[in-house]
Symmetry: D3
């Protein structure tokens, strides 16, 4: 029967991965931020001109991927070989996709999930002024559906 | 007309808040991680005995609140006065609530959202072994509904 | 006679600023990276389309401003109120300008200098492939003239 | 009756300090690393020439003071006004003293204790080669007696 | 004759380890915090119910192990494969034990010592209210006996 | 034709290095800070006695080398094997040289450039009091000529 590998009678630990094989690892995560359609239009307009909301989110996400073992207490430091973050626009949402790759002993899905989360939080931060209502509240804004699309282990790097 | 305050023709910036009043600020954010009911049972059982999945998520969330200006590029460093993170269990989800307070020139909703996000990511990390299917995928796990419940400005500290 | 305030017979210290007045502080620093004219053209072309080399440098610089007390051992943590980084293109260089503002007991010129330095290093990182010669060396690339343009203390915030 | 302020039925929290007065705070902590007398002689000799073991420990300690809220999960970020770390040599030990000052709502003894701890760990790191025995073990080296010498609140800055 | 490997006539350096073999490395460190017997009782009571003081110290210690090269200036970044921190209760002390493992070119005793130190500092932070006397001083609290129990190199991972 | 490897139609990315060979990598960077001759004399005098300005700059530079992937958004985390920073004095400048070595898939010139930059910024911070004129400005101080002296790939470690 499966149990919680990080937890035993002594509390929590960073589980030993020394015996695991170094193989190519890849994980893709996705998530969405729901925004008002007019906010989407402003970002798109900005994008045509400067691309800055999206560029900032992309860079924040890449930096956050590298910070994963500092943020998630029991994650191992992993020598990452590559990170891509991309964005797609819906009418009232932006979807972020983060792919992380490494040649190592343990998987990189937490890194991909962290990249998506911080990219979406950064978008939120940059559109606060337009998403807030007259009382300073956010009735519409919401981060949704952060999930792992695919986790691959041991395949050759394409 | 409202616009994107962080963005102008020169790109992005950390907007000036020097002229804003120092007042009491409070923000509450919530979000959920959907897990298999059996995972919830394991965490609850663990909780009775050791409380460690939840304790780890709580601590990771509090630390992440303090890291917000490092993670979200245009956030200001803020002298926080207090942070609470709590959790509620549903049949197939855990809901995290993060409240952040400060006496300062700018609001703390990004801090509360960051606390919730990293607390939920930490839960994910600790239940990976039980949430993964036989192919190493996560068909069920998902972070949902991260939103700001309330943002308060200028009220007295209770 | 003036001496080195950080150094005494016991070694180095973070000098006491508790007795200094909290006033508005502003510092502007500039610096240049010399690049091949064809690299400049590539960045400019990229800029029209996506602005990403410059956006990445701008964001890296803003984040570095916030990291100053972590990088420069004897700097005080300072509650910054605003940061702007902008760029100008010459035929064979890019000039970065960083302005930092705070309402505090000590000046922010180290923050502005750090922002300029990391913004220019980030540009370098992003143009490595085009700046390197056939032997993998950088005969042309060079960061020059990092200096404080202006340091202002006690004036009203504009 | 006194209880554990950081802990309640919901787990741990960063306790609210918003209602506390901003006053001058000062804390002094001390601790020792026991070393072989010959190691002490080597450091002293080095000190006359370059002072580098002690200088490195001093700088590492000052940087660690600033990192306290990142290391100790429930510590508040505090705008520190000054930090001093000094060292005294015994025949078979070095004693580190760290004084931290701030004008703020909460005390700085954890900052002083963290500064002492990291300064002593840094000394250890720099003398590993001379402290290890032929089996690579450390039969003598030991960090001892880390304590708070004095905690002062509300007195004028001297 | 042995000398200080980190120090030469040019000052300090991060010594080259590129020529050392990658082998399995393990280090165990221990240390104690002396507390009032009533504080120990409060933590134990809390432990039965929630385990939070100890859980917080454990997580802070694990995170600190990963921060070692950031805290100790001349330490190398090391790809850690596992970390365990555990605690034992005496009548008037808590003893922390930290084991760190890696497959790498250099040892991990500084990592184990850093984990113990920060775990003990975190306990201190969480019991401040009960350890302080009526004058806000800590006449009893003290961190003692931080030492390396065992350093192992080249044995197979168990 | 060469292009900007970090930038494509989707924005920026951390480029994949998984297919690159692990070989010995070495990079040397240099740069200068121009200072008033009297400041140079003060540092030299201090150096004879305590060496602290230079020691602080050296340590700050070594720590910054390790922080490179945190500062430069698209840099990979690299397991560094050694770092040296040294200084030479001219009549009105100090020149810093930083050498970084690793056995890895990608080069370390950004690490060497970051080490030089932060070492020079640290010198600036420590001589502020003597470099400023009566109006608090820095008419003379300037960081100049940061460049890569040599980048070596695949040679044996000496």
């Amino acid at each position: 029967m499966k149990g919680l590998t990080h937890v035993d009678e002594k509390g929590v630990k960073m589980v030993e991965v020394g015996h695991k094989r170094e193989v190519f690892r890849r994980a893709v995560a996705k998530g969405r931020i729901r925004l008002k359609p007019e906010t989407i239009e402003l970002i798109k307009a900005g994008k045509t001109k400067k691309g800055n909301v999206i560029a900032t989110a992309q860079i924040a996400g890449i930096l956050a991927v590298k910070k994963t073992p500092e943020l998630i207490p029991l994650c191992h430091p992993i020598p990452l070989t590559g990170v891509d973050i991309s964005f797609e626009f819906g009418e009232d949402y932006i979807e972020a996709t983060c792919e992380v790759r490494a040649f190592y002993k343990t998987g990189v899905e937490m890194e991909a999930l962290t990249g998506v989360s911080v990219a979406l939080l950064t978008i939120w931060d940059m559109v606060k002024a337009v998403e807030k209502d007259e009382n300073g509240q956010y009735p519409f804004t919401r981060i949704e559906g952060i999930h792992v699309v695919e986790k691959v282990k041991g395949q050759a790097l394409q």
